[in-house]
Amino acid sequence: MKKKTTLPLILALVAGLIISGCQQNKRQEATDLLYDSKKEGELFLHMDMVKEMISSVSNPVEMSSLLQKAGVIYSQDLLNPAGNIDDYNTNFQRALNLGVYGTNLVYMNIYDRTLSTLRYLSNVRQLAADLRIEQFFDYETLNRLSESSRNIDSVLFITNTGFDNMSRYLIEQDRSNIAILISTGTWIESLYIATHVQTIPGNRDYINMRIGEQKKVLDNLLLLLYAYREEPDFNWLFEDLMDLKKIFEDVKISYVYAEPTMQELNGVLIVIDNSMSEVIISDNTIEKIANKVAEIRTRVIG
């Protein structure tokens, strides 16, 4: 009896030991990874510079105010389909599209599209988690807030602070590349919506002006991306944006400086740039920009 019951036990033990042996090998592999990491070179850009430049790129909420002012007509077709998230496997794709979806989220929220909002919110959260920066989104709160259109402001606020904090954190963590990509994604999507959205006819000019102003922002972005241009994916992005820059060269901006002021907008303190800049941009250029940005965006959202 005794002999018979111990037999399976011994077998199980033997099996266990063999397997744990295998596990040991696996650990070995893990430490190899660790060892290598120490030798790796780091960092291309200075942290403060990146921070400053990124802050000049419009974040999703800025776009919201732009669109609200312009009274644009909502169009679902402009959004990056939520299902595309499954195709984003690399950090490069994820970061860009985190920006894209963030922009979409804000765009939708303005028009009370609560049902779709949840999916986009979940996508933002998912991409952030994949990039291991999930700590900046309190998913539960956002989820709760999204249930009612009265909370739009709060959702926008949390999303916005989430994006800001995320950028700052990434830069501090030596992951500026990710931060830059998120901003680039946001910028491209904003520009895409701005160039493709339908507006009340009289307001088109206002939007076009804002588009023209992006010339400077693009310069900053390219500066940041330049540091990473050698990396495989950055490569095409940089080149494409360079092409865009060439189109933007047709835009003329004259600048009249005035002291900026602070103002509270929906509970958020924002800096109002009081400097007047006069933007001269032809419809032809707008169209060219629209086409180019659509082309780049198609590549971005995969």
Partner: protein
């Protein structure tokens, strides 16, 4: 006897009587007497006239022809032919026993005037030959009828009862000193009939009726001869002289002063004494509830009395149980048959369990013999069926039950109510079978209720119990009515059986024993005339202790039973055969698992994208619930298949406990069959379920877990089926066994969110869940599905590192730093208690952990002053040091996180760089990775990524990437969904470790089953509650 036969007999008598010398007065008287025995007065005359008619008609013919002896010869030839014709006619209607009786009567006829002419003898020979009676027996009969001298009757077929032993060489002898003359007893072995003849002048009574000298009487079962003076001679005494047990075994069973009290306080048995020896059949009778079956159980050793002993050949039945067990057989009232098997198979497996050395030919031969003697040979291939679904009759079932014991031939056999529910014909058949056993030298105890006279007389002795377990009679059955009548002062009290028909009415005993006092209106008062204890006292006074020479011979060796392994194979074969022959059972069991799997999998096969028609495994949110359901289904199927197994076999086990068979071999065979069934069910379930849900490449692992759980449930089911005594109880119990397992798998309710009193929300899995095999199974499946799928495999090691570094970088180190910063600022503000002692403990604890971390050898960042991390030594300096240390550590984790994160990214970029690569990457991703399960395994829904429990920080996110930290060598407990388990200093993947744990549970359950621990527990509680109730009453 029919008219026709009687007529034929008269003719035969006439034919023989008239030969040679013609009929004498004595012969005619004999015929008249013979007829008087059979018929009433008027018909006797009628038949005597017929006889006379036959004689005279023949005589007339004879008188015409007596002149020439040649013609005379011719007539006797004619008569011979006639005899032949009559004998043949008789042959067709009479049984062998009856034919023997006829022959005896023929001899008696010619003996009445001693005219043994050759003609007459030749006629008798002719008749005997036609009757198929052997020469030896013919000779024995003629010797017995004719000879009155003991010396001339000295043949082995004859027994002589007399006062002096005249040197007899062959015949048997019983000494009866005061008897005048001799009593001769003839035994016809082939039909087991006894005849009696008395030669002497005393008044000798046969069953209370006087015996005429020199007349032959049938000496039937249970008869008793009483000489005028001296001891009576019983049938069994006679039979015992003739029969010598072929095995030469002599067994005595002696019960002394047996007392028994039931747990509820009622008295079961009071001072029972008995003594029996080989070759006897004893009846235990009594009104219902008087303790008959209890006594049988005590004598057979199933139950132990409160006081008193039972000795078998001088060996204590209860102390030397193992020695005695094998020679005891027990046939309970209920069936012992396996319903699904045929008559033949039932016997076959029984035989296999009893004899190890028989070849299959020998077994076949043996079985055929037994089946023929049971009269069951023609139905040997019928299934036994159950009493509701009758295939064979009640009598046949009973005979088959007895047949099971016949094969084994135990020396002492206990039979509980063998005739209940049987027709009187079947009852007699069954009793004759048992009687035959005593002739083979067995000792048989039978509990019997309301036996017919015929059956009652078969017993050698009867023990009568009265209410309250009093022994009120023990002795010869025919004597019993006489005894009670005498005490009751009834008329005819000396006549035990009906003088005309020879019936003994056992009912008359009970009507005397239980007769009630009637009031003046003749209504019975419900009070007994004679109380049981009074009867017992009467009995004690009159009891003559009749000493039997107790045998102290060694008991036979019963070790012919097969060995342990062989037993397993016989049990296994028997069980398998009975299961296979139950088509419903097989079909249900075979289809249960795949049908459930299909139902389950089909219902939860879900396509997330409402616009798409193609199923993507990755997007199916139901995989985690599926894993959960797998474990529950396994438990259910495993339990249900086994829950009735032992319960169903209970009765058979009770019988087989006398065979001294090994319990473990029975259990092993049970378990192996169930395991095979479960393995097949697991195979079918996993195959169907996983195919429908398109779970790729995990077949073996799923099967292993499913099978392990089902196997555990099998053994668990066996436990309850052996402990509880009704099917309903067993099925009521199943929810109690399943629901806690469902609740505590960790799938339905997060261990973080269960009652803290039960260990919820702590670092490790709550102890209460650790004892649930379902939790181990579910964890094994979930971890394995996540870690070892084709997609995750590519990255798991890297992602694990990434997760560790991320946790430390984002949550862990900042939290520690926060505590220190709080301290520094508190100190600067000169607060009285700048730091909570618990915080210090926490710092100490966590720094120790970091100092011992597996990465120390890479970064060499160690905090050397950890001994100063206590409330006394902690100061600003230490705090600053600690802060610097944590900064270094933070930097290390940050860098390594970035590095590993980039490496993973590069790997993916590389894989997806080409369109084909991208496609294949995506398809692996879609086919093997499951998003919802991943979310569950990474615990991303957790409200907090890290919690603080007193002096510890506990990681709550990414449990699937967190290797458990254990301090002690044997501590295997871990957090839920840990990818590996620490055990004996190594790490075992969760799948195999958990499966091991389930098997340890299974082995433990098997041990409790083997030692019947659950049954003992249940019995203990039952007894306890009875005692409590009794105390409450008092």
């Amino acid at each position: 006897m029919s008219e026709e036969i009687l007529k034929a007999l008269m003719q035969l008598f006439a034919l023989i009587a008239k030969q040679d010398v013609g009929i004498s007065e004595k012969e005619r008287n004999f015929v008249e007497n013979f007829l008087k025995q059979q018929l009433n007065e008027s018909t006797v005359k009628e038949y005597l006239a017929l006889f006379d008619g036959f004689i005279s008609s023949d005589r007339e013919k004879n008188s015409e022809n007596t002149i020439e002896s040649g013609e005379h010869r011719l007539t006797s030839v004619k008569d011979s032919v006639k005899t032949l014709g009559i004998a043949k006619k008789i042959n067709r209607t009479l049984t062998q026993k009856q034919k023997i009786v006829v022959l005896v009567r023929l001899f008696e006829l010619i003996n009445s005037d001693k005219n043994f002419t050759p003609q007459r003898m030749a006629m008798i020979d002719t008749a005997a030959d036609v009757f198929n009676i052997t020469r030896e027996e013919q000779l024995a009969i003629s010797t017995f009828v004719i000879q009155n001298d003991s010396n001339k009757a000295d043949i082995p077929e004859i027994l002589i009862i007399g006062c002096k032993n005249a040197f007899l060489e062959h015949s048997h002898f019983i000494h009866s000193p005061q008897l005048d003359g001799k009593i001769f007893i003839l035994r016809i072995k082939s039909v087991d009939l006894y005849f009696l003849k008395y030669k002497g002048d005393d008044e000798v009574l046969l069953n209370g009726l006087p015996v005429k000298s020199n007349r032959v009487y049938l000496f039937a079962n249970g008869s008793v001869i009483k000489p005028a003076k001296g001891k009576p001679v019983f049938y069994t005494d006679v039979a015992a002289r003739f029969i010598t047990d072929p095995t030469g075994l002599h067994i005595t069973l002696r019960a002394e002063n047996i007392y028994l009290t039931f747990p509820n306080g009622t008295v079961g048995l009071q001072d029972i004494n008995l003594e029996e020896t080989t070759g006897k059949m004893m009846a235990i009778m009594g009104s219902s509830g008087s303790g008959k079956t209890t006594l049988l159980n005590i004598l057979s050793g199933i139950q132990t009395p409160a006081r008193g002993n039972v000795f078998v050949n001088g060996k204590d039945l209860y102390e030397q149980k193992d020695l005695i067990k094998g020679i005891i057989g027990y046939i309970p009232q209920d069936d012992l048959l396996i319903e699904e098997l045929t008559v033949w198979e039932n016997l076959y497996y029984s035989t296999k369990l009893v004899y190890k050395n028989l070849s299959s030919e020998q077994i076949t031969e043996k079985l055929e013999k037994v089946l023929i003697s049971l009269g069951l040979f023609h139905i040997k291939d019928l299934k036994v069926g159950n009493p509701l679904d009758k295939r064979i009759s009640g009598g046949q079932r009973k005979r088959l039950n007895i047949g099971l014991e016949l094969i084994r031939e135990p020396s002492v056999l206990f039979v509980d109510e063998p005739t209940s529910g049987l027709s009187s014909r079947d009852s007699e058949n069954v009793m004759e079978l048992l009687k035959e056993l005593t002739i083979k030298g067995k000792l048989v105890f039978v509990v019997i209720h309301q036996p017919s006279s015929e059956i009652f007389k078969m017993f050698d002795k009867v023990l009568i119990l009265d209410e309250g377990g009093y022994q009120i009679y023990y002795g010869n059955p025919v004597e019993a009515p006489i005894y009670f009548k005498r005490i009751d002062n009834q008329i005819n009290s000396d006549i035990g059986e009906c003088p005309r028909c020879g019936n003994v009415n056992p009912e008359s005993i009970f009507s005397i024993v239980e007769s009630q006092i009637v009031d003046e209106y003749g209504r019975s008062t419900g009070k007994r005339k004679v109380q049981p204890w009074e009867w017992a006292n009467f009995f004690k006074k009159t009891q003559k202790t009749e000493l039997i020479k107790e045998s102290f011979r060694e008991l036979p060796d019963t070790s012919a039973k097969p060995g342990w392994l062989k037993q397993i194979s016989v049990f296994f074969g028997r069980d398998l055969k009975s299961k296979l022959s139950n088509r419903q059972y097989i079909l249900l069991n075979l289809f249960e698992a795949p049908v459930l799997a299909m139902l389950l999998a089909f219902v939860i096969r879900y396509i997330e994208d409402p616009s798409s028609g193609s199923y993507i495994f990755r997007e199916n949110d139901n995989i985690m619930p599926y894993l959960f359901m797998c474990t529950i289904v396994a438990l259910f199927i495993g339990l249900i298949v086994s829950a009735e197994e032992i319960f169903k076999d209970r009765k058979i086990l009770k019988r087989e406990s006398f065979l001294n068979l090994s319990r473990s071999s029975y259990l092993y065979s049970k378990v192996s069959i169930l395991f095979i069934i479960s393995a097949i069910q697991a195979l079918l379930f996993v195959w169907v379920g996983n195919s429908i849900l398109e779970i790729e490449g995990m077949f073996f692992e799923y099967w292993l877990v499913f099978f392990s759980v089902a196997a555990f449930a099998n053994v668990l089911g066996l436990n309850i089926s052996s402990a509880f005594n009704s099917a309903v109880t067993i099925y009521i119990l199943i929810p109690f066994l399943i629901i806690p397992q469902m609740v505590l798998t960790g799938a339905m309710f997060s261990f973080d969110k269960i009652n803290r009193g039960l260990g919820g929300g702590s670092e490790k899995v709550p102890v209460i869940a650790e004892i649930m095999p379902s939790r181990w199974a579910f964890e094994a499946l979930a971890v394995n599905q996540f870690v070892n799928n084709e997609y995750e495999k590519q990255f798991y090691t890297m992602r694990q590192l990434e997760s560790v570094f991320n946790y430390k970088n984002v949550y862990y180190i900042p939290e520690l730093k926060g505590i220190i910063e709080q301290y520094i600022s508190n100190t600067n503000r000169a607060e009285k208690f700048p730091i909570d002692p618990l915080d210090i403990e926490l710092l100490y604890h966590e720094v120790q952990k970091e100092n011992n971390s597996e990465y120390v050898s890479f970064h060499n960042i160690v905090f050397n002053d950890s001994d100063k991390l206590n409330i006394n030594d902690f100061n600003l300096e230490v705090a600053n040091d600690l802060k610097l240390y944590l900064d270094d550590l933070h930097e290390f984790y940050r860098q390594n996180f970035n590095s590993i994160n980039r490496r993973i990214d590069n790997l993916i970029s590389e894989k997806t760089s080409s369109p084909e690569g991208r496609q294949s990457y995506q398809s692996i991703y879609d086919m093997h990775y499951n998003t919802y399960l991943a979310r569950f395994a990474k615990n991303t829904m957790a409200p907090l990524p890290m919690v603080r429990l007193n002096n510890k920080l506990i990681q709550k996110i990414d449990p699937i990437y967190l290797n458990p930290q254990n301090n002690s060598y044997l501590d295997f407990r871990a957090h839920f969904l840990a990818p590996v388990k620490n055990f004996m200093g190594g790490q075992v993947p969760t799948l195999y470790f958990n499966v091991g744990v389930i098997w340890i549970f299974t082995i433990l359950a098997f041990a409790t089953l083997y030692f019947n621990a659950l049954k003992r527990l249940v019995d203990y509680f039952e007894e306890y509650s009875i005692l409590k109730r009794k105390n409450n009453k008092n």
